[in-house]
Each structure stands twice: as structure tokens, then as C-alpha cells.
Symmetry: C2
Subunit: 151 residues, 2 copies
């Protein structure tokens, strides 16, 4: 039953690494909805909620997306879920194929964005690795030949 554990905002903040203010703000923007509220109106978060908060944080801090981009990404995921539902209920093969193609286009689009970012980072990484390699080579050079040498 630990998965059904309900925690208040302070604990949710600690576990997600966000501030209480940020969590409320994200709720205001529609990025997250606490699973429920206590009788007196206190927000209650489950493990699922906290994973979502962690994901938002990762996308924000590590990946560097704006809250708008995160919102669109999460909405796209939700839309995909909805397509799943419609898919189950849809009767015709043509209809199903259309739904799938729509979903594929959406995911592909998100994927392209991610790939572009990764490529930019990869370029940077190579640059820095090169630099590091040269520095290490110079160091090894110095270490192996302690005698005086030309420039």
C-alpha cells in the first residue's frame, strides 16, 4: 500500500527536489494536478505524482526546456493516451491506421527535437573531449620526458 501513500506538499517538494512554490505554480499552469485534496483542502500527492514532478524537474533543469515546451510535451503524451483509447474502440482498419499514423507523426516530431538537441550537445562534447585529450597528451609528454625541450 506504500504506493497509495498520500503526502502533503512539503514532502512532495523534498522528494521531487522542487520548491513548494514551484509545485503550486506548475499546478496553476496545468502541468500537474495533485491526486486529491484532504478534507480541509490540503494538496495530496502520490508516488505517481512525485514521479511526474521529478520528470518535470529533469526536463526543466537538466534538459533545459521551458515550462511551455514541457507542457506541450506532456500534452502530447496525454493525447497519445487518448489515441490509445480511441484506437481500442475504433472499428475499422482504415480508422485505426489513420490513428496510428497520426500518433507516429506526433512522436516523430518530438523525437526530431530531441535528436537536434542531442546533436548540438554531441558537437560540444567532441570539442571538449578533443581539448581534454590534447591536454592529457601534453601532460603525458611532460611526464615521460622530464628533460628540457624546445617549444
Amino acid at each position: 500500500m506504500s504506493d497509495r501513500e498520500q503526502v502533503r506538499i512539503e514532502v512532495a517538494a523534498q522528494r521531487s527536489g522542487l520548491t513548494k512554490r514551484a509545485i503550486r505554480y506548475y499546478e496553476e499552469l496545468g502541468l500537474i494536478q495533485p491526486t486529491g485534496r484532504s478534507e480541509s483542502g490540503h494538496r495530496l500527492y502520490t508516488a505517481v505524482d512525485i514521479r511526474r514532478l521529478e520528470k518535470i524537474r529533469m526536463l526543466r533543469e537538466t534538459v533545459g526546456l521551458s515550462l511551455l515546451e514541457i507542457q506541450q510535451l506532456l500534452e502530447a503524451e496525454a493525447a497519445l493516451e487518448e489515441v490509445r483509447e480511441r484506437y481500442r474502440r475504433s472499428a475499422g482498419t482504415d480508422e485505426r491506421m489513420a490513428l496510428l499514423q497520426e500518433a507516429i507523426a506526433s512522436v516523430s516530431s518530438q523525437l526530431r527535437l530531441i535528436t537536434r538537441k542531442r546533436e548540438a550537445l554531441a558537437q560540444l562534447q567532441v570539442e571538449y573531449e578533443d581539448r581534454l585529450a590534447r591536454l592529457r597528451a601534453a601532460l603525458a609528454d611532460l611526464a615521460s620526458e622530464p628533460a628540457a625541450r624546445g617549444a
Copy 2:
């Protein structure tokens, strides 16, 4: 001599994909300094300047760094250049090794940040690729068996 070409801010903006305002702002923050000014005070940019502007833009828009982070990154590069100079002038092997180790530590630190970001993106990418693969499999499934099937 096309490398010595000096262009004014409008052209620099077009070539770098930034706005004139952004360029002036970056200068205000110390991210870039135009190679020179015309007699009348107009900023003049060279190809080197424009490459720097493009790099800033890439770090900002694609990688998603803040201007502060970009500033630190560029300053670290400049510091590295300075170490290079000191290195050339330094006499003792011990001194040179110390300089190299300092530089290595600095570059390694930057590299770790980049790697962390890439890993976060890689995780996302895998997630999306999985999803895409499943959608494509479902589509292929449908295409190959147009007859009615169970859920």
C-alpha cells in the same frame, strides 16, 4: 581578405540569426565584444565575431543554456587560453604540469555537465523511440492482416 570584412550590426544580426537588440545585450553582459567601431561609433563585426554569435545562439536556443552558463563557459575557454600563454612562458616542468592539471580539471568539469545533459536527453530519446517502434509495429501488423482480429 574576405575574412577581414567588417560588417555592421544589422548584417551581423542576419548572419548570426540573432536580433540587433540581443547582440547589444550580449555585449552589455560581456559575452561578446565587436572587433571594433567605425569612426562614428558604429559597431563592426568580423567573421570571427559572427561565429562567436552563432555559437552563443546555439548554446542558448538549441542546448538551452542560460546566458550566465554561457558566460561561464566562454570565460572558462578564455581562461584556458590564458593558461596556454602562461604555459608557453612557464619555465619549470612542475609548473607546467600544474597548469595542465588545472586545465584538465576545468575541462573535465564542463564535460561532465555536457554529458549529464546528453544522458538525460538520451533517456528521453529511448523512451520516444520505443514508443515509435511500437506504433510502427502496430501499423505493420494492421497492414499485413487486413482481416478482423481480436483485441
